[in-house]
């Protein structure tokens, strides 16, 4: 509980013709579940990519589980699990072959748990990935990542486009993982109201800048009014959107 799972200081990053982060500073304590909330184009997916070591920062410092993601990507990837917005799984692969492939990529992967959960969700093992529904694909992507039992889970809006049943099934799996071990969760989402109870911390991002970050309870206390305390969604509207800033 002492250290930081994610520590970013003065990060500058941009694509060739589009600056994204002028100077980003964020931290996520170990063992916490931190939401990453912001409107479209705030930089959420870019931040996830930087944490994964997919891009090299222009300047500044990033530490993920104490490692530099760009320089120590291979070592870091062994300890973190990433669930992207659109699952990248070979479309022609059958689910069972994908599980076998995954097991070879990640020694120590909990194949039994993944298989059990996917069977419970009635995912056909012999089906090709491309023939699964969006919800089933999302389920395969999340359950295989959870079965890594990683120290850090990076979730980039994995519930986007899923129906309410499937979203709640994913949340239940996430709760199981949080109950089973100390894991840090960094969760970008567009549905703050659904995951408010799961999260302990939040980072609000808008146009590449952090507008607020910290413990959710403390933030609610800080913005409490005579009629009670704001929900996470209220805070989001107030702190991360244009309307909130104009107000």
């Amino acid at each position: 509980m002492s250290g930081m799972a994610i520590e970013i200081e003065g990060l500058r990053f941009g694509y060739p013709r589009r600056p994204v982060f002028p100077s980003l500073t964020v931290s996520v304590p170990q063992g916490m579940a931190c939401g990453l909330l912001g409107p479209n184009a705030a930089g959420k997916t870019t931040l996830m990519s930087l944490l994964n070591g997919f891009y090299k920062p222009d300047s500044g410092r990033i530490r993920v589980l104490g490692m530099d993601p760009w320089k120590e990507r291979v070592a870091l990837q062994r300890r973190l699990a990433f669930v992207p917005e659109h699952p990248f799984i070979y479309p022609w692969m059958r689910v069972q072959d994908f599980l076998a492939f995954y097991a070879r990529c990640f020694p120590g992967w909990d194949a039994a748990m993944a298989r059990e959960r996917l069977e419970a969700a009635r995912i056909p093992m012999k089906a090709r990935f491309q023939s699964l529904s969006r919800g089933q694909q999302g389920r395969v992507s999340l359950e295989t990542a959870l079965a890594r039992h990683a120290d850090l889970l990076l979730l980039d809006d994995p519930t986007l486009g899923l129906d309410v049943d499937t979203r709640h099934a994913l949340y239940r799996s996430l709760v199981e993982e949080l109950a089973a071990r100390e894991v840090t969760v960094f969760f970008a989402t567009h549905l703050p109201a659904e995951v408010e109870g799961l999260l302990t911390h939040v980072i609000f991002l808008r146009e590449g800048r952090v507008t607020a970050q910290g413990e959710i309870e403390a933030m609610k206390e800080q913005h409490a009014g005579p009629e009670g305390r704001p929900s996470l969604e209220d805070l989001y509207l107030k702190l991360a959107t244009e309307d909130g800033h104009a107000a």
């Binding site: 239940r172 709760v175 109870g197 799961l198 305390r229 996470l232």
Partner: protein, 127 residues
């Protein structure tokens, strides 16, 4: 047991859940010896962080409401009746305090609040 979570409540989430279990026990809805669902089951059902749920159980256990038996789960503790009525009073007191606070924001004083409570009670009795 049904739980009601209000993310706009003046009470933090863990305190809301704790209070609801307390009320369930003090009102006799949850009886001594009754089993409570495991932390992870309840957390999954309510979509809340299991650490929050663990804190609720931990505090209720420390306050003597619950007992955890290794390997068997979590049970409602037997409470001596004198202690029970003391606790009921403490919870009722807290509820009264919250009600008065709300009344105050509406510009309604204690005497008027009491009058309103009696008025509501009379309407209820009239049915």
């Amino acid at each position: 047991m049904q739980f009601k979570i209000d993310h706009r409540s003046a009470l933090p989430l863990y305190a809301q859940l704790k209070q609801q279990i307390q009320l369930g026990i003090l009102s006799g809805h949850l009886r001594p010896g009754e089993t409570l669902p495991p932390i992870r089951t309840l957390a999954a059902r309510l979509t809340i962080n299991p650490n929050t749920m663990a804190r609720v159980y931990r505090e209720l256990e420390a306050e003597g409401y619950l007992e955890t038996w290794q390997g068997k789960g979590c049970f409602v503790a037997a409470v001596p009746s004198a202690e029970g009525s003391k606790r009921r009073r403490a919870v009722a007191r807290e509820e009264a305090r919250l009600l008065l606070e709300k009344m105050k924001t509406l510009g309604i004083g204690v005497d008027e609040a009491i009058r309103l409570i009696k008025e509501v009670q009379n309407v209820g009795n009239g049915d």
